[in-house]
């Protein structure tokens, strides 16, 4: 787990949250900007999962590995589910749907870092 990756995820998740809220306020459905943001977020999460997976396979596992893996996999699923759910929503609340999903990622990634550092390694 690298702090730079965690910060990058947080920034992208934060921007995506604001974009989602912006489209709700502008009475818009979600658009290309949101899809691009969610794609970037998912990409970063995949990189993070691979980095963490390689470290765990190399014996550098966090103390509470099952919980860590739960958050890691859960975080991968949320942007995908958020986009799918938001795209079928035709009202202005589509953006808020995506904003909630992105905000959850922003919180989860710090919880992941916390779990990782509890390894004492």
């Amino acid at each position: 787990m690298q702090i730079s990756l965690v910060v990058a995820v947080t920034v992208v998740a934060g921007v995506l949250t604001l974009l989602g809220l912006a489209s709700t306020l502008a009475r818009r459905q979600i658009g290309l900007v949101h899809l691009a943001g969610a794609g970037l977020l998912e990409g970063l999460l995949v990189v993070q999962a691979v980095v963490a997976g390689v470290a765990i396979a190399g014996g550098d596992a966090p103390a509470d590995t099952p919980t860590f893996l739960g958050y890691l996999v859960g975080a991968l699923l949320i942007p995908v589910a958020g986009v799918l759910w938001a795209r079928t929503e035709r009202t202005r609340w589509a953006g808020t749907v995506l904003a909630v999903a992105a905000a959850a990622i922003g919180v989860m990634v710090w919880r992941l870092l916390q779990l990782w550092e509890a390894s004492g390694a």
């Binding site: 489209s23 979600i30 900007v33 949101h34 099952p66 919980t67 009202t91 202005r92 589509a94 749907v97």
Partner: protein, 145 residues
């Protein structure tokens, strides 16, 4: 206004039903179903003997969130009634578990989603049922009038 069009096509208006704000609620409930379910799964499978009561409560919370999510997604009269029942159980659960966890911390050696009124989750577990009840009431009122 180029950036506005990048924000997406114009929205359709939400007139009650299971769309609109209720869909945001669905996302929140789905997230907590995932969080509570994963937490209960890990706790029950790896260290059930340490705190069986707390871990079974985690599992109960997960079930309640799942039922509420399904009820909200299904919508209609039946779905709403299911969601309403789950949300009431949730409200009672978060208040009772929250109070007990503060009054008798020894009984809750490990955190549950509802410990300390959901402080481990930014108190969202406490706000969620209130928000849910308000939205469900609003939806029902909008349909009958």
């Amino acid at each position: 206004m180029r950036d506005r069009s990048a924000l997406g096509p114009a929205a359709e208006s939400s007139d009650g039903g299971s769309g609109g704000p209720v869909r945001v609620l669905v996302v929140l409930y789905a997230l907590f179903a995932l969080a509570a379910g994963a937490r209960a799964g890990v706790q029950l499978s790896t260290r059930f003997a340490e705190a069986p009561v707390a871990y079974l409560l985690s599992a109960l919370a997960a079930v309640v969130y799942v039922v509420a999510t399904v009820g909200l997604v299904r919508g209609g009269r039946g779905g709403r009634r299911t969601a309403l029942a789950a949300i009431l159980v949730e409200l009672v659960g978060v208040l009772v578990v929250g109070t007990l966890s503060l009054a008798d911390p020894a009984a809750f050696p490990d955190e549950t989603v509802w410990s300390g009124y959901g402080r481990g989750y930014g108190y969202v577990p406490l706000l969620l049922p209130v928000l849910g009840l308000l939205l469900l009431r609003r939806g029902t009122a909008g349909r009958t009038s």
